[in-house]
Amino acid sequence: MSLQEELQGPPPAKLIVDHVSKWFRQKRQTVHALDDISLKVAEGEFIVIVGPSGCGKSTLLDIIAGLEKPDKGRVLADNEPVLNPGRHRLVMFQESALFPWLNAFGNVMFGLKLKPGLRNSERREVAKFFLHLVGLEKFMEANVHELSGGMKQRVALARALAPNPRVLLMDEPFAALDAMTREQLYGDIQRIWEKRRKTIIFVTHNVREAACLADRVVIMSPTPGRIREVFDITLPRPRDFNSIEIARHASTLTAALKEHGAHATLTG
């Protein structure tokens, strides 16, 4: 594979979540985390899942990633059942999950080193390319503790993008950041998504965030986790987080959440 091809990236994947149910059995009680979840995600689609905490969003992402196994149903990625984690579906977690024993560059290299078919010099080129893409080319040598929260999530994004996954799973990646940094990142993520089409499943409990980013918003409700409603958002991109249309869509989403007995924050 040439470096050029590597930087172009493979086509995004199609995902099918097929009647997935999940229970967590504990000593005292059994939690019914997901109940009969079905979802079809097209190639290159940006899906945002919204729901209050505890409604099973993270569990659903874990199952799609292959980190957890469903008790019923299955997940298909490009018509192949997902049985294990694999580098075609990378996850970006709420806390950055960056490795403190590596610097920013080392963190981005971690996943690349696990990717066969590349020379080490090419891996370094790819890592630099993605650190550049997230605007951190000056911070390659920085240690994790020296980065701000927003920069950490940028490195985490570069780390997730670098091995060129076909699906990007993002679990409330910006929840811990301040509003300013977050708005910047909404811009960045849309720009990057335009450039490097990926199938993205993005989890949040923030309806404005959902309206700003999604092609489709999936509303979930808790106990047990169910999909209640799906909204198409057809606004042109890039979208401005503070625009009136976004606010309007957000209030529709809030109304839907309330109707399904769930309260999410409007602004987050």
Binding site: P85, E95, L102
Partner: protein, 255 residues
């Protein structure tokens, strides 16, 4: 620079105070020799090679016991952290034995191995292993599980995960465990050398022991100083680089 100057001034003052007390003749010079006579002993013993050969013998024992202790302790600690069966068996044993002062191994070593190098080695290993096991175990358990999950999604398999994620992630604990293991090994070796007279090598502990037998207080204090200096140097040479690395990467140790 200023700080090392301060340290030098402090130790010179300490030696001066010591000299003043000797000159005041509160204790007999047999019990408290002057700093100069201690210095003379150290210089002479250094010149005739006694110190060097004793230090080499001691350090060789220490290093071999320590390395074996690490080689046993590290994997054991990984095992106790990852299997409840090992945790409930070896883990509990390690916890118990770690509280045992390492001198307590000396009588047993003597009975099992006699006055041999093996007895020395055994005592040093026992002094090292358990604290390394406990530190490794604690380190691995303290790692946020999200590191391993993130690594798995990037395609990390179990062996890769252990060597590239779990071990480096627990490095802060490993280094402090290795440091503690080193201190215990050093202590237990001194105990062994003082109690076990063997013919295969004359260590610093033996010099200390014979200093006492001969009532040569300058020798006793001189050797003690040498032991302290070696301990300090080992700490600087073996562990300071690691600690600097940890502080830089993890952002710890700032005041």
């Amino acid at each position: 620079m200023r700080r090392s100057l301060l340290a030098i001034v402090f130790f010179v003052a300490l030696a001066a105070l010591w000299g003043a007390i000797v000159r005041a003749q509160i204790w007999s010079p047999v019990l408290l020799p002057s700093p100069l006579s201690v210095w003379d002993y150290v210089v002479n013993a250094g010149r005739d090679g006694t110190l060097l050969s004793a230090s080499i013998v001691t350090l060789r024992r220490l290093l071999s016991g320590y390395v074996i202790g690490l080689a046993i302790g590290l994997p054991l600690g990984l095992l106790t952290a990852s299997s409840t069966f090992v945790e409930d068996t070896i883990g509990v044993l390690a916890l118990g034995l770690q509280t045992l002062p390492s001198v307590c191994w000396v009588p047993l070593a003597l009975l099992w191995f006699g006055q041999t190098e093996s007895a020395m080695l055994f005592v040093v290993i026992m002094g090292t292993v358990w604290s390394v096991v406990i530190a490794t175990d604690t380190g691995v358990r303290t790692i946020p599980p999200i590191y391993a999950r993130a690594a798995r999604t990037m395609g990390s398999r179990p062996f890769h995960k252990w060597t590239r994620v779990i071990l480096p992630a627990s490095l802060p604990y490993l280094v402090s465990g290795m440091k503690q293991g080193w201190a215990f090994a050093w202590r237990s070796l001194m105990a062994a050398e003082i109690y076990v007279t063997i013919l295969t090598g004359f260590g610093l502990g033996h010099l200390l022991h014979y200093g006492r037998e001969l009532n040569a207080m300058d020798q006793v204090i001189g050797i003690m100083l040498v032991i302290i200096v070696i301990g300090l140097l080992a700490d600087k040479i073996l562990f300071s680089p690691w600690e600097r690395f940890l502080h830089r990467r993890w952002g710890t140790g700032k005041r």
